[in-house]
């Protein structure tokens, strides 16, 4: 059983202490196709839950990654700038997007676990 939680917008969150690591799901990267560009937020930026945290561009289209929780951006995945394909190769691993210092962990309460998310994507 994975420790990832998922949003309905296909982001995943892994909580480590007071930090949330955020990326997009395998389902999402599959739907997007080849990722060719990722725009990450400035470190130090304050994000509100539901706000645009990053932009992801596939060959066909641009889409947004939303912050699943409010807090300050404390790190971003630098290697995505030169190797955005990491999002396709390892969406829940090396293809992570950003880390947020969590303001209020209760904001994460409504997220889906892996089983619920799989059912959601198959629904």
């Amino acid at each position: 059983m994975s420790d990832l939680k998922y949003t309905k917008d296909h982001e995943w969150v892994r909580v480590e202490g007071d930090t949330a690591i955020i990326g997009i799901s395998d389902f999402a990267q599959e739907q997007l196709g080849d990722v060719v560009f990722v725009e990450l937020p400035e470190i130090g930026k304050q994000l509100k839950k539901g706000a645009e945290a990053a932009v992801i561009e596939s060959v066909k289209a641009a889409s947004e990654v939303f912050a699943p929780v409010s807090g300050e951006v404390v790190d971003t995945n630098g290697p995505l700038a030169d190797n955005p394909g990491l999002v396709n190769e390892a969406p829940t691993g090396d293809g992570w997007f950003l880390k947020i210092r969590i303001d209020d962990a209760s904001e994460l309460d409504g997220l889906m676990d892996e089983d619920a998310y799989l059912k959601f994507t198959q629904g």
Partner: protein, 368 residues
């Protein structure tokens, strides 16, 4: 209800992701993905199903005059087996569609955009009824599929089955018979590469497509790769890079207006188009080279360095062979010189770019 092409079952077997396009259910990509399909086309050869495009036959003794009344190309000068890229214009000089016209001998063979097929046919028929050629008739060759085999290995592959295609020049057409199937082959395409389009009876299309796909060099490619390939090749997409409000001169298609037609006129909007050729245009289609890696997509506003709007991107995205963003669009002519610095408003943020030459990737057409 979406229409299906004769290769629908094959697309399913190949694992294509299908998408509605111009009333058809079409493959946007196969499991390899758009990047791989694009790069494979430039390196080897790809098979595209373009059966959604309209294949029309214009027949009758006055077919040449009838068509010349609607397009600025030299159709009179089109020898048997020759083909031309041209545009249907309206009275304001705007473009109703772009199309390929081939003189196949008995008739003129027209390939038009799927999204414009019905309008084009109505437009052509109305013109014929208006006395431009009462002995002319327009028919859709609806029982034919259209396959595009594109890439530097395309001639080697097709030559295995039809050796005579080796002698075809670029933008020429010839009929062949293979295993009892009548094929109309043109050496042309929409990728910037050497390649062929093969018009084939619908009933025989699946078998011939499978034969081509069985060749080592050939992989299937979908509409996604077709779009990124034509974008790198600087080729227009109707409804995006031109429409009924843009003229061929603005669209950078003045080269399609034949010498004789410039002297004689006689096509819709000729007064406006010929005046633009003489006096210039206020805006024109150019390429844009964004600095950095962020793609600038259709409808992105172009500004000068003071932030004043001077144009708009009409096609833009990531060019897999370029390895970065590629874009084209319209700009105020006073900014249209190559290397002019501009800004592209991507997600509300101005990003530096330059006007650049097209195509972004040099054409690799066959030269005899």
């Amino acid at each position: 209800m979406l229409k299906q092409t004769p290769l629908f079952d094959l697309h399913g077997e190949l694992g294509a992701r299908m998408t509605p396009f111009a009333g058809y259910e079409m493959p946007v990509q196969y499991p390899a993905g758009i990047l791989a399909e694009h790069l494979h086309t430039r390196a080897q050869a790809s098979l595209f199903d373009v059966s959604h495009m309209g294949q029309l036959a214009l027949r009758g003794d006055r077919r040449v005059a009838a068509l010349e009344a609607l397009v600025p190309a030299d159709i009179q000068g089109l020898a048997r087996g020759a083909m031309r890229y041209t545009v249907l214009t309206n009275q304001s000089g705007g473009i109703l569609d772009d199309l390929i016209v081939t003189n196949v001998g008995d008739y003129l063979f027209l390939v038009v955009n799927a999204s414009r097929k019905a309008q084009d046919m109505a437009h052509l028929e109305a013109s014929l009824e208006a006395g431009l050629g009462t002995d002319c008739g327009l028919t859709e060759l609806a029982d034919r599929a259209l396959l595009a085999l594109q890439g530097p290995m395309a001639a080697r592959v097709l030559g295995r089955f039809i050796p005579e295609i080796a002698h075809m020049g670029f933008m020429t057409a010839a009929p062949f018979e293979f295993n009892g199937v009548r094929l109309a082959v043109t050496r042309s395409g929409y990728t910037g590469e050497d390649g062929f389009e093969i018009s084939i009876p619908s009933a025989d299309a699946d078998g011939f497509a499978r034969l081509l796909l069985a060749q080592d060099e050939v992989a299937p490619a979908g509409l996604g790769a077709r779009d990124s390939l034509r974008l790198e090749a600087g080729l227009c997409l109707y409804g995006h890079d031109m429409d009924d409000s843009t003229t061929p001169v603005e669209a950078g298609l003045a080269w399609t207006i034949a010498r004789r037609r410039r002297d004689e006129g006689g096509f819709p909007g000729a007064d406006i188009i010929l005046a633009q050729l003489r006096d210039g245009v206020a805006r024109r289609r150019v390429g844009f080279l964004p600095k950095g890696k962020a793609p600038a997509r259709e409808h992105t506003i172009v500004t000068n360095n003071d932030g004043a709007p001077i144009g708009e991107i009409t096609s833009g995205g990531f060019g897999p062979s370029v390895g970065g963003p590629v874009a084209m669009g319209y700009i105020d002519s006073s900014y249209s010189d190559v290397d002019t610095p501009v800004q592209l408003m991507v997600r509300g943020v101005p990003r530096p770019a330059r006007v650049c030459k097209m195509p972004a990737i040099a054409h690799n057409y066959f030269k005899a």
